[in-house]
Symmetry: C3
Subunit: 348 residues, 3 copies
């Protein structure tokens, strides 16, 4: 029996099982700099220690989206190496800021198992938690993924999970306790728009586009230590239905969030991931554009929070906000429909 | 009115206006490492703390060219998002070393405004200053750029700037005060050639060539948080006069300076940028070569200084020093003609 | 005479000569992060300070392979700029761990000189040593390389070196003195297989493949400050026998070692490089696969050691372990045949 790991198949999962994922990772200033180089993100809170200190933090924290990708990446070898499709995620909550020097590992609990009627695949639902070096949870989210069976006839557990919440309610959002925006400098942050200026229903075209190269998404996905082979192996992919390497969906999220700086510059700190759908695959050579819609606003006291829908398209600018039509069908250019909460400074 | 920013047009600038640019940035060892990976630079002063300490510095400073790109990048969203052409820069002075951990932001003052006769564009002249976390200026330069008008009929200010100095005079050059080259190790630095060995008129072919990839220049330009869309959006660029993404001129400067290590290995510390002209555009797939000419030498006491002309070409080696012909026309392969001062160790 | 350096030719070397190489380099957490992004390596010891501390180390050391590439890179401008072929290396010993903040430089001693019968080239054998900031050797290896003569008629020294050892004997392997694996966490390390589980003759297919892009290998090779022009100059290479840029062999080694995590996750710490052969060139666009064979096992007391053969192929998966046939000819897909020792945790 070979010592190399082909990953779990559907029949290998057990309800209630807790899987500790490999390769703890100390995140450093280098990850922050690489995140800037790979995405072009400009939210001041993650770029400048002085700015973060003026916001009450010890230093610039690691961008929560980067934390998400790192935690997600750790779960891949155990959860989704034999995935047919990533079906979604929900109930994502950033529980504590992560700072350079913190070491993260990840743990997943199997919440649900539901075999598909064809007996070839099943849906695995897990709650994955990112944990820091003093055992504090920093991020938790639910994810469900369709996984192949190794053997169609293998017996399986069948325990569908409870339906995840459609979004994290505002009263469950956690601001970093030390956050203090009373001296917030919107000029340095690069946007004159405060919490009070955003209204539900408002749409923002983020204007710019960014063309993605193979080397860029591979570097990013390796930085996250996400080993899903669809992103890296052009030969294996040549016989896939797409014929080429797929860009990790998290790369699309981060690039779109970086574009969203233009219009949402003060909404730096992601508080929750309500859900996300990778509507179409993104490939190297595609140019990504993005727009946002304000879904909900919530006053959290020290800061406001915006619930935002971030839609990214490929090879089609977003001046007319392409999304779903009246029949509920997506514009064919849409690649991402992502729902999250971000903290934003209130007018002082 | 949308919250996303389309950038200023010519009629939006006011003489004497001071613009504080967004996204302060803490530069770290990671930026230094990325600078090495992106450019191949080998000047020992910026690569090794011990070498820098033997030169009297607290640790390896951030390469001044990287400081320039970061400061320049910050000014782009406010100054040149609607630029037709970057016409030049001058009077660039590095005023203080920048070390890992320092946080920079940038401020520009509008020095001149001159509408073109077609009333569709105008030339904006600014002085941009990079400032560290204790409000010390670390870099200052003048830049002029041709910017579109939003509305041809909009009234404009008309106040041509004073002509910038053709170069920074040697007596205005500032060595880092703590610099002490009395124990300078030329073997570790990689060059046996000291200040006294260089004479005005001397030309040096830097021999090597480097082919540039889309991913490389995009990573570099994002690291500088320079958002000019001509560098990133292949679809928008497909209808431009070049038909493809343009490489940020600063990438060409840094690559050429890295090649110039071969022949100028002791001339590590850039003191001033006298001027620069991006003669032709550089594209991914092009191979860059470079040569230098010594324009002037100056003894600054603790170190010498060389005023150098750095010429870079594309797809054409530089053994015969391609530049301008007698009619003043550039060889079509020339992409960069850059004039700067660098400190260099004197023979002990 | 130009100040730029064209590198040494065969007749420029002298037996016993000691060459101190340029550009000392402080390795930092940024190099570690870039190493992850460039290779996808997942060995926990180099990824997490906490994991390294639980193994008795002060913090996560720099991956020994990265140390090797950096030391090797420094020697290129002096030893192999005019190389026709890198013939091999041997007797590579990692003598001390390197930590972020350590500064390395490199020194080579010429051990052997043997002109080829055509008088156009000769073989130079050197011992290269990487040295840290307190003059401790951290790595030493022997390397031989075929170098052009500038002038066929130039007189040369002729002193063939003693034949290097075919491999480093186990009793010369040096574990980091502070290494303590008594609390080793194999779950976090990502592999259930300990020293005792590996037997000589065992082969492991590492399963995954990774397609290499020009930007990726150029970034890596520049990070190592390896200036060999065959890796960077597409125009010069267009008239070479390959017609295109060659990927530095060290990139193939690091990518293959990263793939080898799947099956050898606890064999993180490289102790020695016994030898390596770059059987075929690797180019951008190629997809690399790898397999390993256990050649020898040795109990070092605090840890075990595995002597491993790492074979990498291009564009051909390794399920059937392609190597040499009975006639001693390599499968045409093989690019690398590398022999090394790595420490591995013993069952507690």
């Amino acid at each position: 029996m070979s010592k190399s790991n082909r990953g779990r198949y559907f029949e290998d999962f057990r309800i209630g099982e807790v899987i500790t994922h490999a390769t703890p990772r100390t995140l450093t200033e280098a990850d922050a700099a690489l995140n800037i180089a790979l995405t072009g993100t400009r939210y001041a809170l993650f770029c400048a220690d002085t700015f973060a200190q003026d916001c009450g933090l010890a230093q610039a924290p690691i961008d929560p989206l980067l934390v998400f990708h790192v935690v997600f990446g750790k779960s891949v070898p155990d959860i989704s190496l034999n995935a047919v499709a990533n079906l979604g995620y929900a109930e994502g909550k950033f529980l504590l800021p992560v700072y350079p020097g913190d070491t993260l590992h990840a743990v997943s609990e199997v919440l649900g198992l539901k075999q598909n009627s064809n007996a070839k695949t099943g849906v695995v639902t897990v709650r994955t938690t990112g944990v820091n070096q003093i055992s504090e949870p920093v991020l938790s989210y639910v994810r469900w993924v369709m996984v192949n069976k190794r053997d169609e006839n293998a017996p399986v557990e069948n325990a569908p999970p409870t339906t995840p919440a459609p979004f994290v309610p505002a009263n469950q959002l956690l601001l970093p306790p030390e956050l203090d925006l009373s001296a917030y400098d919107a000029v340095l942050a690069g946007s004159p728009h405060y919490f009070e200026d955003y209204k539900p229903g408002e749409k923002i075209d983020h204007l710019d586009g960014v063309t993605v190269e193979e080397a860029e998404h591979q570097l990013a996905t390796r930085l996250y230590q996400n080993t899903a082979r669809v992103h890296f192996d052009a030969i294996a992919q040549s016989s896939s239905r797409f014929g080429k390497r797929l860009i990790y969906g998290g790369v699309a999220i981060s690039l779109a969030r970086a574009l969203a700086f233009n219009g949402l510059g003060n909404a730096a700190y992601m508080l929750a991931i309500n859900g996300g759908r990778h509507v179409n695959p993104l490939f190297a050579g595609d140019t990504l554009y993005a727009w946002s819609e304000v879904l909900e606003v919530a006053d959290l006291g020290p800061a406001g929070a915006l619930r935002l829908r971030l839609v990214a398209t490929k090879n089609r600018p977003c001046a007319d906000f392409p999304g779903k039509n009246e029949a509920g069908e997506y514009d064919p250019a849409v690649v991402l429909d992502f729902d999250y909460w971000a903290a934003i400074a209130k007018r002082i």
